[in-house]
């Protein structure tokens, strides 16, 4: 059996072979670079430290910041936790109000929920129907005791790009810190932290052809941002995150971000072309809806609802494609996507959604095969769907008295 076509790059990416090769040279005795970067007394440590600092420069270069502003973490989830909890705890005397949005990643949402138990007050902004945050609503939510705004750069499900430049103007002028989860945007959208008024930014390596288990948090130095550490120990990373640095992981992230910086512009064009080819291929199917704004969107993401077809059965039908369902049916919960609900999609459309995400190794043939399969399987499942029958008979489904269960 041939492997399914991978169209789930927003979940994770394969490691670029150039990255893997570099990582391998930092593991074994023979390679000579296995040392602890914190060892100051011998060359093994010095070499490892040099590699870590080189990688720090590579990560900083992609987002145009000072390498000293990069703190290594285990991934974007840890970065989000460190940013939100770290700021909340350090600035608690100043205020205990935080603003975020309903479509944030769970790493931010659950961290905020956690803080609510400790007396913090959180405002969860409702995005507009296109997935964007209304700046006027954000501004209206700001209070004298607001210490932090946390808004993601690119949404993981619908791929929309928030206007973090404009949000930064609102926060900086009020002395509110601004954290941005950039797990889905680094390497896909140009980021210039010298210009952006962003105070904290979370990064992940594995969304960008680097290894899993490594990420970084940007912590601005001017104006200085303070954090309460969440991991205590040897005082690594200037006390913000203790724990022996995983040299091979860090080197891998550095190399992945170096490649991203050099190849992003060209790669984006190719991926956008493939995404548009996919969209064009499925757009002629009846009752197909794109979720999220198409203009302010990363080139590799397409989130579509196929009305009257349930997402999980569609994924089962499309098992030759590795995609993810907007509906979380595959996890233990039977709730449809909270992101699609938050942008006002009716539950039945949220239940019918699939996220396609395209990447470095996707080919035109992959897309054409995907289009062919989608056409085939949608018509098969609609043949099976009583809702499709009713739609064809002209029955307005919202007028039907359903027996909710």
């Amino acid at each position: 059996m041939s492997k399914p076509i991978y169209l789930d790059y927003a979940a994770t990416t394969p490691v670029d072979p150039r990255v893997a090769e570099k990582m391998c040279s930092f593991l074994t005795l023979d390679s000579g670079h296995f040392g602890n970067p914190a060892s100051r007394s011998h060359s093994f440590g010095w070499e490892a430290e040099q590699a870590v600092e080189e990688a720090r420069k590579q990560v900083a270069a992609l987002v145009n910041c000072d390498p000293k502003e990069i703190v290594w973490t285990s991934g974007a989830t840890e970065s989000d936790n460190l940013a939100v909890k770290g700021v909340a705890e350090f600035y608690a005397k100043k205020g205990k109000h935080i603003i975020t949005s309903k479509t944030e990643h769970k790493a931010v949402l659950d961290t905020c929920r956690h803080l609510e138990r400790f007396g913090y007050e959180i405002t969860y902004l409702q995005p507009e129907l296109d997935g964007m945050i209304d700046l006027a609503k954000l501004e209206a939510a700001m209070r004298p005791d607001t210490i932090l705004v946390s808004i993601m750069h690119v949404n993981n499900e619908i791929g929309v790009i928030q206007d973090i430049a404009a949000i930064g103007e609102l926060t900086r002028s009020r002395g509110i810190l601004f954290h941005v989860d950039a797990a889905q945007s680094a390497g896909k959208v140009p980021i210039d932290l010298d210009k952006l008024k962003v105070d904290l930014m979370s990064f992940s390596a594995h969304k960008c052809y680097g290894p899993k288990g490594i990420g970084a948090l940007y912590v601005r130095r001017k104006p200085r941002v303070r954090l309460e550490a969440q991991m205590h120990g040897g005082g690594h990373e200037r006390g913000m995150r203790s724990g022996t640095l995983p040299t091979h992981q860090i080197v891998g992230m550095g190399e992945a971000f170096r490649i991203a910086r050099e190849e992003m512009a060209q790669e984006n064009e190719r991926i956008r072309m493939l995404r548009d080819r996919l969209l064009k291929g499925v757009q002629n199917i009846e009752e197909v809806y794109v979720n999220g704004d198409m203009e302010r969107r990363v080139p590799h993401n397409l989130n579509i609802s196929f009305n009257y077809v349930e997402g999980e059965s569609l994924m089962m039908a499309l098992r030759d494609l590795a995609v993810s369902s907007g509906s979380a049916c595959t996890s233990a919960s039977l709730e449809p996507s909270y992101v699609l609900r938050a942008i006002g999609r009716p539950d039945e459309l949220a239940h019918s959604s699939l996220r396609f995400s395209i990447g470095r190794y996707t080919t035109e043939q992959d897309i054409d095969r995907a289009v062919e399969l989608i056409h085939q399987k949608i018509s098969k499942l609609r043949e099976l769907s009583p809702l499709w029958d009713m739609y064809k008979e002209g029955i307005d489904l919202s007028s039907v008295q359903w027996s909710a269960h």
Partner: protein, 127 residues
């Protein structure tokens, strides 16, 4: 999630997909579930004058387990009397298809569909 072979078989080759004339006096139609919940089953039965289910058809909007559950019950109902069909329990469906706990509601929905179709038939007959 891994599906059992029986679920995959019913999903790949659903039995008795289709529709019967919902206005016919000898046809009962049961529609259960809601689009917002991600499952809607429509089950129809054609009943002979002596009370035996001659034919059964279904269409289902839902996950693979929901499609398999409704496909299975159409097979089981055919040839049964109405009383016998009412004895089909969701636990039997779940057991036959080896449904995991998170999918038990699909078998419950299929049992509800049987009851709804039979009730619709009986209501028509008493008119």
């Amino acid at each position: 999630m891994a599906y059992s072979d029986k679920v995959i078989d019913h999903y790949e080759n659903p039995r008795n997909v289709g529709a019967l004339d919902k206005d016919a006096a000898d046809v009962g139609t049961g529609m259960v579930g809601a689009p917002a919940c991600g499952d809607v089953m429509r089950l129809q039965i054609k009943v002979s004058p002596n009370g035996v289910i001659e034919d059964a058809k279904f269409k289902t909007y839902g996950c693979g387990s929901a499609i398999a559950s409704s496909s299975l019950v159409t097979e089981w109902m055919k040839g049964k009397t109405l009383d016998q069909a009412l004895e089909i329990k969701n636990s039997q469906i779940a057991e036959e298809l080896a449904l995991p706990p998170v999918k038990i509601h699909c078998s419950v929905l299929a049992e509800d569909a049987i009851k709804a179709a039979i009730e619709d038939y009986k209501t028509k007959q008493s008119k």
